[in-house]
Amino acid sequence: MLSALIVSLKVVGVATLVIGVVGTLLALLLARVRFPGRTLLELVLTLPLVLPPTVVGFFLLYVLGRGSPVRDWLGLDLLFTWQGAAVAASAVGLPLMLQSARAAIAAVDPQLEDAARTLGRSEPEVLLRVTLPLAHRGILAGLFLGAARALGEFGATLMVAGNIAGRTRTLPMVVYDAALNGDLALAAQTSLLLSGIAFLALFATRRLEQPAQR
């Protein structure tokens, strides 16, 4: 279980970073820029939220595997690596981040941004000093939710990264294997650990959404 915990932490660490950076940029794009195909992009990015994870994994197997640009042109061979697992975890965590961050950014009053512009602030400054600070609660709430979802990812990860002890076996896979092999004690312990972490992430999300209440 310890090696799976380490794998899970690495996967969630990288996935959280990816979800945070990519999610914030995409949320800005979707909330503030009008362009053809915006709805289509939003729907495609939200798909992993509702698709069975094995379907997401199956797509990713093609995106990352033999014959794909990622592998053949970029030379990134991510199948059966924990980095590949991080890609799968990011894909399923991203929609949760987008929902929350996009709403938070859209709720920032454009007049405040315009005020900053009339005071001579450049666009990046407006973004960093006005828009993002005002939306930070929604962005962080989405980040925690996305990270929690990434931690619990199972189906897509299994497809893309396999289930190799010490290499790509994550905590949810330990639960699955233990339950199938009748090791109910290990399954229960690991489930409790995962539940505890997920509970903390949800609690943090809640506090961010409703700061005044206790």
């Binding site: 660490g13 945070g20 197997l61 396999g162 289930n163 339950a179 199938l180 009748g182």
Partner: protein
């Protein structure tokens, strides 16, 4: 916000550090085997013996045969494929993704009916499944799992399939079917002898003429940089030294059956 970012960066650094430290076994060969989940018990002792003899380390990716085949098809860095059937290996061979001369049957599965000792059931033939005291029969998905298909075949040949339909509980695989019966949620389960050979409980082996042989085939994946070592492992697993262990874990050996 700063604290959150600091934690993230720390995690990322730790992750990268872990990556640097990952390959400690310079010069030592490590093979990656994709193996059907029903091998989870028998494979570790076999691989330990192989490593002791050759110094070659083996890591295993356990999973569902169809999924493992899909991964190999997309170029997963697997050296050797141990399937739960023959068909998936032969399909990969036809597509030129495994080395055709390495394809061979390494073990033959045995179908059993299993039930808890404390269930009060006394079954001496499959016909006894019609008894009113057998309410739920767990079976692996007959359209996907080889042992599920074999169980369906046996029940069909005995003319029991239709009558028993309402009592069937379909599991995803044989491990799950077995867990249904072990936990008492099903009265009996069709499963592999290899899964229950070291379990307490009652079992009844299904007569072999009632189902097509459950042949499990292996093949070395084409293009692996560790082909020589993978071939050695394939030879070892299908060879005479491994035979006793396969049999102890409830498998038959095709070489001994057919030749």
């Amino acid at each position: 916000m700063r604290a959150a970012i600091a934690v993230l960066l720390a995690l990322l650094l730790a992750a990268c550090a872990g990556r640097e430290a990952a390959p400690p076994d310079e010069g030592e060969t490590t093979l990656l085997v994709s193996a059907a989940a029903n091998l989870a018990d028998v494979l570790p002792p076999l691989l330990d013996a192989f490593q002791e003899q050759t110094g070659i380390r083996v890591q295993v990716n356990y999973g569902n045969t169809a999924q493992l085949a899909a991964q190999i098809e997309r170029g997963a860095p697997v050296d050797l494929f141990l399937a739960a059937d023959r068909q998936h290996v032969e399909t990969l061979a036809a597509k030129g993704l495994v080395l055709p001369d390495t394809v061979r049957v390494y073990a033959r599965g045995r179908l059993v009916l299993w039930w808890r000792a404390d269930s009060g059931l006394a079954l001496s033939s499959l016909e006894d499944l019609q008894s009113a005291s057998v309410r739920r029969i767990a079976i692996a998905n007959p359209d996907q799992a080889p042992y599920g298909a074999a169980a369906r075949q046996a029940l069909q040949r005995l003319g029991l399939w239709e009558a028993l339909q309402p009592r069937l509980v379909i599991a995803e695989n044989i491990q799950q079917a077995f867990q249904y019966a072990r936990s008492g949620n099903a009265d009996v389960a069709f499963t592999a002898l290899s899964l229950v050979v070291n379990e307490s409980g009652q079992r009844l082996e299904v007569a072999r003429e009632l189902y097509e042989p459950i042949d499990q085939a292996l093949a070395v994946v084409k293009g692996t940089p560790r082909e020589a070592a993978a071939r050695r492992l394939a030879d070892y697993l299908a060879g005479p030294e491994a035979a006793a262990l396969w049999q102890r874990y409830g498998y038959e050996l095709p070489a001994l059956v057919s030749r």
